[in-house]
């Protein structure tokens, strides 16, 4: 399964050549094409053009109807699937968790933070304590009313169990967490943590609020659907929660029954949709768009999670900032997006978290500049450099974009040898230690993402980024409760990312999902999770 065949490689090379030799400049062509999709020659290019734009799509409109069974056929799950609201790992887990549970806050489809079970988050002046007020009258599926005790139980379970969401609450002072009244919790931290709501939201599908008497074998949450049955790696059946707290004002859930089947790969998913056995399929490649459109609808999200190239800044040749900047200048990002996703997705500028309001939009977009890359390499004494890039089928398009990068690097005299390994190998003992590799990340806001990835103490510091100025700025930022002042510091951090960081972020990959014709109400999201954050509650059937 790993790597592309020789045929694919050839096709890629031809496509790149064709693009380079066309008299029309690519950027001009983009302008004429208008839709953000570029025709590259060949059927796949045509397909991209005939499909919808990359600015996000939806199947909204009409008056929602109640009832029916929606069957989703989702990729990415396996026998270790779980419906434990805090132990999800893969995409199918998250789809089930978002259906069954709610968290204090979550992302809306524009990747902005919105309150879920929380009515408000209020910090004290030093950002060491947060007071969380809960919405009143929220019921769990078993009829129990949500209280502060459930929140304390849930957060404690994550931190004590060292579960997936724990790293977003690293400095929590568990012993001093307390219930102020039935609907109010005080969450103290050992150090200032002004970005707690953002950090929490970045991991909201790991941080479901569970009732104090939670039993994973009969899982109960507050979510739009209630548990009925589940077989790991195969299927689950949930039914509509008629008492869902969010359904006031005629909002969903609308469907009576939600069946989520695990399907192993894209072909099986598309076959199931063509045979009428699946209403919703996810994680498709852009070349499948015409096949799916023939039978149903396509939903394209602009993407916000990232699949960066990772350069270890503490190892040669990437310990020289000139080499890192040269590599960033080698990347022709638009060409990458065109070849790997048919032009869908969002252009990257080596700074993560594109939808965060704290992102400095005045930083100029980095373009390919082979001459400057060459002179930087020459200055660093690295002309004619040969490096190994470790790639793997870890996310949409990762092996393909590695090939594109290797091709593009030739122009700068850099030889990139690809080493394709299995995903298990990639995340094996060498993970976070590769010199030059790739990775994928779900969307998170800017400062919380730094906590995960670019501090010396970050659990996933794959670039081995360790800069005292950077650390000091970060610590300063998370102690500021005034958003405007905090933003200034965030901008300084982004300037450092952009001029010397270890990531090449060429684009934010799109989500391409398929829906059968009878599904309405679905909207694409920007977080990088399918169906606008697996929002089955908004979908209705004809």
């Amino acid at each position: 399964m790993n790597g592309a065949t020789t045929g694919e490689r050839l096709e890629l090379a031809q496509a790149m050549q064709a693009e380079g030799s066309s008299g029309l400049g690519r950027r001009d062509f983009m302008r004429y094409a208008g839709a953000g999709a570029v025709l590259l020659g060949g059927a796949s290019g045509l397909a991209a053009c005939s499909s919808s734009t990359s600015s996000g799509t939806g199947t909204t409109g009409g008056t929602p109807k109640k009832g029916g069974t929606l069957t989703a056929g989702l990729a990415g799950g396996n026998a270790s699937d779980t419906v434990d609201g805090q132990k999800g790992v893969n995409n199918v887990d998250f789809s089930r968790i978002i259906a069954l549970y709610d968290a204090l806050s979550r992302y809306d489809i524009n990747a902005q933070i919105e309150n879920g079970l929380a009515e408000s988050f209020e910090p004290n002046s030093t950002a060491t304590e947060w007071t969380i007020k809960l919405k009143s009258g929220v019921e769990f599926h078993n009829g129990k009313t949500l209280t502060a005790d459930d929140v304390i139980f849930s957060l404690t379970r994550v931190v004590k169990g060292n579960l997936g969401g724990a790293s977003s609450m690293a400095n929590i002072d568990l012993a001093s967490m307390k219930k102020l009244d039935d609907l109010t919790v005080l969450v103290p931290f050992k150090t200032p943590y002004a970005t707690f709501p953002a950090g929490y939201t970045g991991y909201y599908y790991y941080l479901s609020i569970l009732p104090t008497d939670y039993d994973v074998h009969n899982p109960v949450g507050t979510g739009p659907f209630k548990y009925q049955s589940f077989t790991p790696g195969q299927t689950s059946t949930f039914v509509r929660n008629p008492n869902y707290y969010g359904s006031t004002g005629g909002k969903g859930p609308y469907i009576d029954t939600l069946v989520i089947n695990d399907l192993a790969d894209e072909n099986t998913q598309i076959n199931a949709m063509l045979a009428g056995q699946a209403d919703a399929i996810n994680l498709l490649s852009f070349t499948s768009i015409p096949r799916v459109q023939a039978a149903g609808q396509i939903l394209i999200g602009t993407g916000g999670g990232m699949t960066p190239f990772t350069m270890r800044v503490d190892q040669a040749p990437f310990n020289d900032v000139r080499v890192r900047q040269a590599f960033r200048l080698i990347a022709d990002r638009k060409q990458m997006m065109n070849l790997v996703f048919g032009g869908h997705g969002t252009l990257g500028n080596d700074i993560f978290s594109p939808w965060d309001p704290d992102i400095d939009s005045s930083i100029p977009q980095r373009e390919q500049d082979i001459n400057q890359a060459k002179s930087l390499l020459a200055a660093a004494g690295q002309s004619g450099l040969t490096v190994e890039l470790v790639t793997s089928d870890i996310a949409q398009g990762t092996t393909k974009v590695a090939q594109v990068f290797a091709q593009q690097a030739k122009a700068a005299g850099v030889t990139v040898n690809l080493r394709t390994v299995t995903a298990t190998d990639f995340y094996g003992t060498q993970y976070l230690k590769w010199t030059f590799a790739q990775d994928y990340w779900y969307y998170s806001q800017y400062l919380p993402q730094i906590a995960q990835a670019t501090l010396p103490i970050s659990p996933f510091n794959e670039t081995h980024w360790s800069d005292p100025t950077y650390v000091a700025l970060y610590n300063q930022a998370i102690a500021i409760t005034d958003p405007a002042k905090r933003r200034d510091v965030a901008h300084q951090l982004q300037a450092i990312d952009h001029t010397s960081g270890g990531y090449i972020i060429p684009y934010f990959p799109p989500t391409i999902d398929g829906l059968s014709k009878r599904v309405h109400g679905a909207q694409a999201g920007k977080v990088g999770l399918s169906f606008g954050n697996y929002s089955f509650k908004d979908m209705w059937l004809e």
Binding site: G73, N78, A79, S80, D81, T82, V89, N90, N162, L163, G164, S167, S229, T231, P232, G233, Q234, T235, N261, L263, A264, T268, I270, N271, A272, L274, A275, G276, Q277, A278, I394, V421, T422, T424, D425, Y427, G428, T429, Y431, D439, Y440, P459, F460
Partner: protein
């Protein structure tokens, strides 16, 4: 091809044994158990060689080193390989198949339904494959060198050359997704319900497997029948003036069946492995599909059990085939 000729059976016999069938059964069973033991070691060693482990597969790439270590300890993956193997083997000898590393369920409850699903697939495919193969073999043997004989011969050669997943995808294309929408494309048998309650989900996987095994049985049956029809005893029967059908069914068929039984046996052996690919293509929840998932998850107890189950089936089918062939060939039962 003929498994009877393996070294085990060809061991020098000093004293004429009065019960060749019993001797064959005892000998083969002992060798079979030894084989299973070796297989279990090989499979365990192979899974140990694979990069990554179940803890990594369960936690995904978002695992911190501490979480990973905790789970490895919890699953016992931090112990030396020999200790892990021994604990699995001693569990097995006590009738404990262990627990899935991926989701903590016991291997027996997890697999019971799936073994049934796969068994139904194998039995149905084997049954229809045998009936169709034998019938076609007889049919073409008596129409030797006629147009229909040549046509079927060419078709069967063509089918033999196709890998099974190509056949499966072809069936999907024609009968499910693109030409006709007659049958489901994915065979998602509801957990807890036996597969015969959803017969439409069985059609395409069974059909694909039947198409794979029919050519082999049919060609063997045809060749053996032709050989029998050319024999002197058939000529004699004809000269006596017996009707054609009688000659075919009473004289030729019993003599042609022994080599065909070998072919049928081999087809069942093929099915035991062939279901893996077919189940994956149709997402059919049997042991082949489960094995595929278990390998991805490094779920060693599941891998071990399924591989041993398939190996046991393999050995068992070999013995059964040989015994039946022995019964069907009276002259080989008589010690000389």
């Amino acid at each position: 091809m003929t498994t009877v000729e393996q070294p085990a059976a060809a061991a020098p016999v000093l004293v004429a044994v009065p019960h060749p069938i019993r001797r064959l059964l005892i000998e083969r069973t002992l060798y079979g158990i030894l084989t299973l033991f070796i297989v279990s070691i090989l499979v365990f060693a192979a899974t140990e060689l694979l990069p990554g482990d179940a803890a990594r597969a369960v936690l995904g790439h978002n695992a911190t080193p501490i979480q990973l270590h905790n789970l490895q300890v919890q699953l016992g993956l931090d112990r030396p390989a020999v200790v892990q193997y021994w604990s699995w083997l001693s569990g097995l000898l006590h009738g404990d198949l262990g627990k899935s590393l991926a989701n903590g369920e016991s291997v027996s409850t997890l697999l019971a339904g799936r073994i049934l699903n796969s068994a139904v697939l194998v039995v149905l495919a084997g049954f229809f494959g045998t009936v169709i193969g034998v019938a076609l073999g007889l049919f073409t043997a008596i129409r030797r060198d006629k147009f229909i004989d040549h046509t079927l011969s060419v078709i069967s050669l063509g089918v033999t050359a196709l890998p099974e997943f190509v056949i499966a995808l072809g069936f999907l294309f024609v009968f499910s997704t693109n030409v006709f929408h007659a049958f489901p494309a994915v065979s998602l048998i509801p957990p807890g319900s036996p597969p015969w309650q959803s017969p439409s989900l069985l059609v395409l996987p069974v059909a694909a497997l039947v198409v794979v095994i029919v050519p082999y049985i049919y060609r063997m049956m045809r060749a053996a029948t032709i050989e029998a029809l050319e024999s002197e005893y058939v000529e004699m029967a004809r000269l006596k003036g017996l009707p054609r059908t009688g000659v075919l069914l009473r004289h030729a068929l019993p003599n042609a069946i022994a080599p065909t039984i070998q072919a049928i046996g081999l087809s069942f052996l093929y099915l035991a492995g062939g279901i893996v690919l077919i189940e994956v293509v149709f997402a059919y929840p049997g042991i082949g599909f489960t094995l595929d998932q278990a390998v991805q998850n490094r779920d060693i107890p599941i891998i071990q059990f399924i591989v041993l189950l398939l190996a046991t089936f393999y050995i068992f089918m070999n013995i059964v085939t040989d015994v039946i062939a022995l019964i069907a060939t009276p002259r080989r039962r008589v010690p000389r």
